[in-house]
Every structure is written in structure tokens, then in C-alpha cells.
């Protein structure tokens, strides 16, 4: 599949934002139980950052649409379409986060709003992941691992962002959150690695033989009916050399998972700037990971577009 930057930015930004909210909700819960002391400003800043990231993600996602101003229509088919469900859950999540942050700013009871936002964050992970997981034609995506990985990776990046934020605003919390980010990053790396391993071993069920219904071991395409390419050649092929795809995959593994985890494991009490730097590196790795997620996917329609002429 062609990797669309709109979707890459949206899924990574929103995923990290949801993870940030969930990590700060954990802090909020711990504080309500009297386990930790934190200033309200941490939650307010967290809510603002979450909303900003979701907002930027939404703008990025709108670039994916041919008619962004008709986007509101996408709420219609929530009974059948995961995309429709996401379009409903995302604004609800943002509203709950705004209410949670506002309640903290006004010193009002906020925990219920936080719990609601947390539930919606988890629901949003499932919706985003299932948009891809529900495409049966693309077997690399049609697995429970897809929503699981969207959730785990989002939690990891959110925990890392939360630790960086805490290092600046509530320093005593930072080491604990960094520890959490380390565990989340390792779990996410394992699950994502397993998904890659699985996808490398998929044997295609749909072949050129079933695509045109001719049972012969040797079929060669001579013409695809157009000389200059088409939507089919632009949308479903990444068109990048295999070396680049491999390099981006290594970048995803190293920047996104291995290096941040190694740094978090090596430094017991990381400073704010270090954590911010680690998050930036991790986020760059996630962009590469999401790019690879698209290039990994082989669409069966590509069987019909193997030779120009």
C-alpha cells in the first residue's frame, strides 16, 4: 500500500495523545488515593497537549479526504464502519479531555471526566486499529495484532511523553513514569515484532490464478489496459525500492523501540531534556513504523497491475 502521510501523522499523534491521557489519568488516580502529590498544572498542561496533538492529527487526517468539508457525514454508518465509529469517538474523547482539564483548572472534581476520557481513549485505539484490521483483503492487517499494536504503541509513546512532561512539571513522578514507559516500549516492541514476523510468513491465498480464474502455473501479465498508470497503481503500490523499505524498518526498530528503551534502562533518573529528546527520537521511529505498516501490506488487486503497457 502507498503510505499516506496524513494517516501516518494522524495515527501516531492521536495514539501518543491517548497514551498521554491514560498515563496522566493513572497519576490522577494515584493522587486521589493519596499516593502522590502533583500540581493541578500538570493535568491542565497534559489536557492541553493532548487536545493539541489530536487537533493537529485531525488536520492531518483531513488531508486524506477528497472532500474534508463533508467529513461530518462520516458519523452516519457507525453500525458497520470502524471509520465511522472513530469519527464519533475522537471528538467525544477530545470533549472529555477538555472537561477533565477544565475541571482540574477550576479545582472541581475531575476524576469522573478523566475516567470517561480514559475509556474513550481505549475505544479510540480499537477503532483506529480496526479500521485497518477490518480490511479482510489485506491479510497483513486483518489480524487482532493490528488494534493491539496500535494500542500498545500508543501507550508506550504516551507514557514517554508523560514522563517528559512530568520531569518539567512534577519532577518526583518522572522516574516512575519513565520506568512505565520502558516497560510499555518493550511490550510494544515485542508485539510489533511478532506482527512483522507473522506477516513475513503469510502465504497468499489469492493468486493470479484465482484472480483471473485460469488454472495454470505460469501466467504473465502483458498489459494492464493503460499506459500511464491509474488510481490502482498509485494507491496500492508504495513504489519504493526494497532497500529503502528495509532501512525504514530498521529506523523504526532502532529509533522507535531499541534506543529509547536502552536509554530509559540505562539512566535511572532521566532529566527533562533527555526525556524530551527521547520522545522526539521515539516519535520519529513511530513515523517510520507506521510507514512500514503501510508498505508491509500487499493488496490482492496488485495482482492485476504487474506490467504496464
Amino acid at each position: 500500500m502507498h503510505p499516506p502521510w496524513s494517516m501516518i501523522f494522524f495515527t501516531t499523534l492521536a495514539g501518543a495523545a491517548q497514551g498521554l491521557l491514560l498515563a496522566l489519568l493513572g497519576v490522577d488516580l494515584a493522587r486521589s488515593l493519596g499516593l502522590v502529590q502533583t500540581p493541578e498544572a500538570l493535568f491542565l498542561a497534559g489536557a492541553v497537549i493532548t487536545l493539541a496533538m489530536c487537533g493537529v492529527g485531525l488536520v492531518a487526517a483531513s488531508f486524506h479526504l477528497g472532500h474534508p468539508w463533508r467529513g461530518w457525514r462520516a458519523m452516519a454508518m457507525w453500525r458497520t464502519s470502524w471509520l465511522s465509529r472513530e469519527v464519533i469517538v475522537l471528538p467525544a474523547f477530545m470533549a472529555a479531555v477538555a472537561a477533565w482539564g477544565l475541571a482540574h483548572a477550576l479545582q472541581a472534581p475531575a476524576l469522573l471526566w478523566g475516567l470517561l476520557a480514559g475509556l474513550l481513549a481505549l475505544a479510540l485505539y480499537i477503532c483506529t486499529g480496526m479500521i485497518y484490521g477490518a480490511v479482510k483483503a489485506i491479510r497483513e492487517w486483518a489480524t487482532p495484532l493490528t488494534p493491539i499494536n496500535y494500542t500498545l504503541i500508543g501507550l508506550a509513546s504516551g507514557a514517554l511523553l508523560a514522563s517528559a512532561l512530568a520531569a518539567f512539571m512534577a519532577a518526583p513522578l518522572a522516574p516512575g513514569l519513565a520506568r512505565l514507559a520502558l516497560v510499555a516500549t518493550l511490550v510494544a516492541a515485542l508485539a510489533r515484532g511478532y506482527a512483522y514476523w507473522r506477516n513475513q510468513r503469510l502465504v497468499p491465498r489469492t493468486t493470479l490464478q484465482t484472480a483471473i480464474g485460469v488454472r495454470h502455473p505460469r501466467i504473465v501479465q502483458k498489459s494492464q489496459g493503460a499506459m500511464g498508470g491509474s488510481f490502482n497503481t498509485r494507491e496500492f503500490f508504495h513504489g519504493r525500492p526494497a532497500t529503502l523499505v528495509t532501512r525504514v524498518r530498521w529506523a523504526a526498530a532502532l529509533l522507535g523501540f531499541v534506543l529509547p528503551a536502552a536509554a530509559l534502562a540505562a539512566v535511572a533518573a532521566p532529566s527533562g531534556p533527555l526525556l524530551a529528546l527521547l520522545f522526539a527520537m521515539h516519535y520519529a521511529g513511530l513515523l517510520a513504523e507506521r510507514w512500514s505498516f503501510f508498505t508491509e501490506a500487499n493488496h490482492p488487486q496488485n495482482l492485476y497491475y504487474r506490467a504496464i503497457a
Partner: protein, 240 residues
Amino acid sequence: MTQLALVIDLNVCVGCHACVTSCKEWNSSGSAGPLLDWNADGPDPTGTFFNRVQTFEVGEFPNTQTVHFPKSCLHCEDPPCVPVCPTGASYKRAEDGIVLVDYDKCIGCKYCAWACPYGVRELDEKRQVMTKCTLCVDRITDLTLPPAERKPSCVMACPTQARLFGDVHDPESEVSVAIRERGGYPLMPEQGTQPANHYLPRRRTEAHTDPVQVVREHNPLRVDGREPALQPPLSADWEH
């Protein structure tokens, strides 16, 4: 319940692309259009088509067959493109089973194209909405046309009558009989989409002459009681 569909006979398709051009012509000027092109006269022309003819070579030289393969929306009985559409722009008509796109509702998210395993939905780059074969719904339901012309444009255009059109749920329709008696098959059955369109396979065609037909009693080659030799050269037998 009616399910309109095309049945395409690969045995007689000669790959002339008449269905492609007539489809483009009708759907550029009909109610579904326009189907726009980019760089139509430039070095890298591209555009939106509902129907394309592709060519495959089967086998290894010299034992090869050239298969011309027209490809358009198969109007699946269980279309994966419909439930994924977030706006309801993509739908399957209950009355005749045609899968259509409401261009005024489409937001151009391309999700339906991802869900379709056949790659028969094309985003029109200028209008930024998803487009696809409508089975010429504006022709086949147009009561002002003579009944014989209430067929998709591609079916009307095909010079070898490789394309049949009808209701595959009616067991006595032309298309159902063709599927039943000529080995009609669906594409990618493993995808579980139950395509309504079917394809008829290539058939081996050869002239067969039984030796008995050559030597039978009233064979004009029997001259003066002399039987023509079966082995060549047959013509040498005429020399007296």
C-alpha cells in the same frame, strides 16, 4: 430478488477495448460522469475508467494462450466495499443488486477501495470522489430507450458478444444458462465476496474429421471405384 450482472466470455474476447471506450464515452456524457483524464495528450496520460481490459499470457512459448481479461466492478452479493463506507455513500441497491456510489455523499476517503480485493473502484482525481461501474444504471432503467438497448454500454459495444447481461438470480436468464452450461466462475472465490459477475472459461476449439467421413460411400473423392488414399498426398490420387 433480482441481481443484475455481467457474464464475460473469455473464449471470445479479442481484447479490442471497445467496451472500455464505449464505457468511457457513455459515462462521461451520462448522469454518472464526467470521468476525467489527466494529461490525456501528454507523455503520462492517466484517467478514471470503470472498465479496463488487461492481457495475460498463459503457458510457456510455444504453448501459449493470450487471455484478454475485461475487469470491472463485479457487483458482489456480499460487497466488502459497502459496510466500510463511513457515510453511506457506497450502497447496494435492494431492487437489482447494483453497487453504486452516491457522489454527493462521498468524502473521498478511499476506504472502500482498500476493502475491495479486485481494485475496481477508482478515485476520480479531479472530482475527488470514488467512482465505479454502475452497470449503466441510467441506460438499463431508461424507459425511453427501446428495450433492446436497455443494456450496459459495454455490452452494446462488444463486437464478439463476449459480454452478456442479465439477472443471475433468474435460473432461466441468458446469463444463468451461460454460467450453468458453460462453466461460469467467479473471481477470487476465497475472498468470500460472492461476485455477481461471472467469467466463462477458454474452451479448446478444433476441427475434427473422422477418417470414416473421408472414405464413406458418397465421398466425392471416390472416383471410378478408386478409393482416395488416406495418407497424404491426397491430391496425387487425382492424377490418372
